[in-house]
């Protein structure tokens, strides 16, 4: 069984700026770290690997050459190999153009039974790439899984915790699943596994290594237009302090709520 975990490198700092021309996040010159939520997806894959003898775990990311650091970190956690999709033609991609390249790379990898994503990236917070990849691959998808297990020979069962209900979904493999951070606690890479990770295969695919439609790549292939990015004004709320004993305060509260016809 082959599991591919798609990961992203994000700025190490929260102090990111906005590109004044594109209105996108300006990541230039910022040190990167693996998106913390992606570690939950890796941990899930490694848990499955620990529980069976036949599981291979690959990591896949798209970005500049230094994104290899996050692949190495994931391999130091225990993944078997890494794929880096890196080309100037991929730069400036929105979630759709990113999902397209990742889907094409997954087609080239070919034999992935389970494709995992973290719930979202902490820099742009969209959570869209996983579902987009599932659509490109025409595979079933489960988002925000709070638990996941292999059930039967060719299916997964996942629980989704929603606001007022719990869903249990079963998907035929191959499938795409994004996972919640509450799912598990990611393991630390051990010092020895950090060293050994540099002996594991890391494959870099450039533009010409993949079967790509150039009109779908990079900024030109991205339909998203960011017109403005701003911090919303904080909402000022009215505050009333209720004095007296608890019984008096409760009485005042009931009077106030009745006065506003809220009860």
């Amino acid at each position: 069984m082959k599991i591919v975990v798609c990961i992203k490198q994000v700025p190490e700092t929260n102090d990111v700026t906005i590109d004044p021309v594109t209105h996108n996040l300006d990541r230039r010159g910022l040190a990167g770290v693996m998106n913390p939520f992606d570690k939950n997806a890796i941990e899930l894959a490694l848990d499955l690997k620990d529980s069976r003898d036949d599981v291979q775990v690959a990591l896949l990311t798209m970005g500049p050459d230094d994104y290899a650091e996050s692949l190495r970190e994931g391999m130091a956690m225990g993944a078997d190999e890494g794929y880096l999709l890196s080309d100037r033609a991929f730069a400036g991609a929105d979630t759709l153009a990113t999902g397209y390249v990742i889907a094409q790379a997954l087609k080239k990898i070919g034999d992935a039974d389970l494709i995992l994503f973290g719930r979202q990236a902490v820099d742009a917070d969209t959570g869209q790439v996983g579902p987009i990849v599932a659509e490109f691959l025409q595979q079933p998808q489960i988002t925000y899984a709070a638990s996941l297990r292999l059930s039967g020979d060719n299916e997964v069962t996942a629980e989704r915790l929603l606001e007022d209900t719990k869903q249990t979904l079963v998907a035929q493999l191959p499938a795409v699943v994004s996972v919640r951070s509450e799912l598990n606690t990611p393991r630390y890479p051990t010092p020895r596994n950090i060293q050994l990770s540099f002996d594991k295969p890391l494959t870099t695919w450039h533009h010409d290594d993949l079967d790509l439609d150039d009109t779908r790549l990079g900024q030109a292939g991205s339909p998203t237009i960011v017109t403005k990015v701003y911090a919303p004004e904080p909402v000022k709320r009215e505050l009333t302090k209720l004095d007296g004993t608890p019984a008096e305060a409760a009485s005042q509260l009931i009077t106030a709520l009745k006065g506003r016809q809220l009860i």
């Binding site: 190495r72 130091a76 630390y188 890479p189 051990t190 010092p191 020895r192 950090i194 990770s197 540099f198």
Partner: protein, 373 residues
């Protein structure tokens, strides 16, 4: 692209920082109050592979070199000095088995150093910095040795399972043997109630007719003094790293507080008296960092590093106590309170003016090295 070594070292320190922030720092104050590591703390450190950080890969370790190993202890000590000192005691002992143990002894013992803590014991009730005053003995009987005596104030004593012990094999002859806690005749004695580094156990072992084979001798008969000196040198580099970590912690406390606290209408950061103290703390931290890094670089390059290691520890220990005192003064009443970590950082640093050779002995060693140039 960085070299594989540089990339691995960066990843190691990133992991160490992450682990320190989440697993070690939160235990710093409780550990000082309890006077011990919390339950499961050392097991988790072991399970995460910290014990094998500098152990060569052929023995199942990670094989990181002296510079990044020192840097890792430096980063850990920013969160808690006891954890870093326990690893220092383990690493310096592994270093001596690597330098002086036979290949057979290394193969027998070192794979277990990934899971078991090792310790080096020199001090006895009759003296610490005067090894010829020790009373423990090893007597040859046929093709084996019989060890007797009490060793005290051992870093990780009681926690470690394997001990290198400095004993007399003749009235004026010192040798080092390796003993295991499972050997008949081995027992633990009293644990010290020290005022600093309170997580790290420091205790006593008793050897009552322990029989060891000749291959448990490190180096040759009579090499004890040389091996002891080597253990001190390796420990002193790492202590310089730990002391730098303590000072980084102190500097952060001092600057964070000065930025928040006002004296009258002025923030503390506007006062020259604060500037002087913060600058002194920063200079002490930085000079110690340069000293331990230089000693580690020399060690990695296979060059002599004894004098530089002594400087790192002698300068760093006094500097960290003084930096702690300045930090305490900036925080004033809060600095003197046990609710804040400053007072225990001073107690932690104070231990290293004594352990691994007193600062007085360091100065003698440094001066002697200078006279001999």
């Amino acid at each position: 692209m960085p070299s594989t070594t540089a990339a691995a070292e960066k990843l190691l320190l990133q992991m160490v920082d992450d682990y320190t922030e989440r697993e070690i720092s939160p235990e710093d104050m409780p550990m000082d109050a309890a006077g011990d590591f919390p339950a499961g703390f050392i097991q988790k450190l072991t399970d995460t592979g910290f014990l094998g950080m500098m152990l060569p890969q052929e023995f199942g370790g990670a094989g990181f070199g002296p510079e990044v190993t020192a840097a890792a202890l430096n980063h850990i000590a920013r969160g808690n000095a006891s954890t870093a000192v326990t690893l220092e005691g383990h690493f310096k002992t592994i270093d001596q088995i690597l330098k002086f143990g036979t290949p057979a002894l290394q193969q027998q013992l070192l794979p277990s150093a990934n899971d078991r803590i090792f310790a080096f014991s020199m001090t006895e009730a009759s003296g610490g910095s005067n090894p010829m005053g020790i009373g423990s003995t090893a007597t040859r009987e046929g093709d084996h040795w019989v060890l007797n005596g009490d060793k005290i104030m051992i870093t990780n004593g009681g926690l470690a399972q394997v001990y290198c012990v400095l004993v007399k094999t003749a009235p004026h002859e010192l040798s080092v043997f390796v003993v295991d806690q499972d050997m008949p005749g081995f027992s633990f004695g009293k644990r010290e109630d020290f005022i600093g580094l309170r997580g790290t156990p420091v205790g006593e072992i008793v050897m009552d007719h322990i029989i060891v084979d000749n291959d448990h001798l490190l180096g040759k008969v009579g090499d004890g003094g040389r091996i002891g000196d080597s253990a001190h040198d390796d420990a002193r580099i790492l202590m310089g790293a730990v002391l730098t970590g303590i000072m980084e912690h102190e500097l952060k406390i001092a600057t964070d507080y000065a930025k928040e606290r006002k004296a009258g209408d002025q923030p503390l950061t506007a006062l020259q008296v604060t500037h002087r103290k913060v600058a002194d703390i920063a200079m002490r931290k930085e000079t110690t960092k340069l000293l331990f890094e230089k000693a580690a670089q020399l060690k990695a390059a296979g060059q002599p590093y004894s004098e530089e290691a002594a400087m790192a520890k002698a300068h760093g220990s006094r500097a960290a106590v003084a930096a702690g005192d300045d930090t305490l003064q900036i925080l004033a009443g809060y600095g003197y309170s046990r609710e804040y970590p400053v007072e225990h950082l001073i107690r932690d640093a104070r231990a290293m003016e004594i352990a691994e050779g007193t600062v007085e002995k360091m100065r003698s060693a440094i001066a002697t090295a200078e006279f001999n140039k």
